[in-house]
């Protein structure tokens, strides 16, 4: 499972992506728990971050499979 970081989340993690190898699909809750183990600084962003897979925002109850590409989207500021 590849996790993509953007904008200020790159600063918080020091990288633009990370590879996780969960043994079973993860809920959003479990995904966050796993990420915070590696990147405690993400905690400050959690409440404002939306999650996307396959280039679409997902609902809070989404489940992420081992071969998903998951993007963490901080508040956007385009235009």
């Amino acid at each position: 499972m590849r996790i993509l970081f953007f904008a200020q989340l790159k600063d918080a993690t020091g990288c633009d992506s990370v590879e996780l190898t969960p043994s079973s699909p993860l809920s959003a809750e479990q995904l966050w728990a796993e990420l915070l183990k590696h990147f405690p600084k993400l905690a400050a962003h959690r409440s404002s971050v939306r999650i996307a897979t396959r280039c679409e925002y997902v609902a809070p109850n989404a489940v992420f499979a081992a071969d998903d590409e998951v993007a963490l989207i901080p508040p956007v500021s385009g235009g």
């Binding site: 925002y57 500021s77 235009g79």
Partner: protein, 558 residues
Amino acid sequence: MKLICMEIEIQLVHEPVADPIPPPPWGIVGAWLEFRGMVRSEENGGNISALEYEAYPEMAVREIRRILESLATKYPCRAVKVIHRVGVIPVGETAIYVGVASPHRGEAIALLAGFMDRLKQDVPIWKRRALPVETEPRKNRAPVATKTPLISLDEALAEIHSQAQPLPAVRTPLARAFGRVLRETVGAPTDLPDGDRSTRDGYAMRADDNSEIFLVVDTLHAADWKPRQLQPGEAVRVATGAALPCENLRVVMQEHVERDGQKIRITRHEPARNVRLRGEDVKAGQPLVPAGGRLEAGRLALLASAGCAQPLVSPRLRVVHFTTGDEIVPPDQTPRPGQIRDSNSILIHGLLQKFPGDVVPAHLPEDFAAAKQLVSTFHLQPSTFDLLLISGGASVGDKDFTRPLLEWLGFEIVFSQVNVRPGRPLIFGITGGVSVLASRLVGSLAPPDQVRMAFGLPGNPLSHFVCFHLFVAAALAKLTGAAPEKFQRGRLAAKLDDAPCPRETLWPAHRDPAGLHPLAWASSGDVTCLMETNALIRVPANRGSIVAGAEVEYLSTD
């Protein structure tokens, strides 16, 4: 479900958004509404020079399309074109362009408004950071007098320094960054080296282990990464450069051991540890390549090793170079009496090599009206060039039209005579960009405060050489964000023989380990001394001859 038949075109681009964008190809549709979101000169109360945008491109394009398709069901339009620029966008340039075609304006306006609102909520594009304005604000000058006085070299340099402003920085792949000026300090992403490494082919064991005989428990090649704790009596075979399996090890050269199967015996003891320690070269986060330096091969290699594949650097310079004078013929032609070959074009071309960019050359006819006619075909919008150089015609002869030409182009003449030889009739002009030049020519809107500079260089080749190194190079250094070349101190290797001159002199010289050798030059038309010149000695006004061995100021030209 309503059928959507709106054409949608979406681009994410790194380059400037064209101006203007051609309207849709299918003729009259009723309304063609265009919107440009521009980068403002202020962000969070501070002045900025540019904003850097980041995008999640695949998802951004998809989100934009999703939003437009959803809005089209409510506001049926004929077509929409969206261009969002990412990367470093200078103040005054377009960040987003939206064009909407529809039968009536109402739908187009509603769709545009709805789109921009939702773009700012949902499309994964970010203003990553603001790049600050890098220099002191330009000083306010008094209105320019019709006749500018003769000014000193130092006054001229101070004027250029205060008028020139660094151009907005850009991100560029390493392969295209050679010769550019790095515009932000790049730090080490990790400790360098990132772990303890062997400096010898040999055997690694605990530094505190004084055994004579060791069991070889592993072999490590240069690319291996096999962490393990070594126990007393254990050693690993290591290659030069290999990452050691843990900290607090030493390496014994292979020449100093006897090997027997899996065992080694140390035959010679030496105090050296033969280990490069983690962070020995530089610690994570410490500056590796400071801002302001020109990127030569070695610095590029250092950036590559730090993972900085797209450094923030000065942009490629865009220089327009006009030569003037009907006496000039190309180098491959034989001049008739009264004519000379054009050496200034290639001189300027060569001198500009140090500053990566593009030179647009042209020769102007001696007739002012014809020259203006030709210049107007260049469409010299302020946004299309950074520096204008005009060779020749800088004096006040009947046909010397450099000054009127610059004024016609909207330049304000800052000075036109500097008290130096060679190179006294040097013209320096600036334009604020927006007003006169734009209205005179094509009517484009330049970013405010984007100053364009022009130099009118005296036509003699030696004057050209001197004026370039003294003045043009100083302006180019400031534009690129580099430190200007400074006068250095050196000793004369031979006497400088000169009568006292009321002007400061920049005397061509050859510098070698023995010191500065003044070269013979008869007049500013003399090109022969350019064979050897690699320095210009600064001779104060009224100084006259200077004895061998005396300390002088000079400017390096190589």
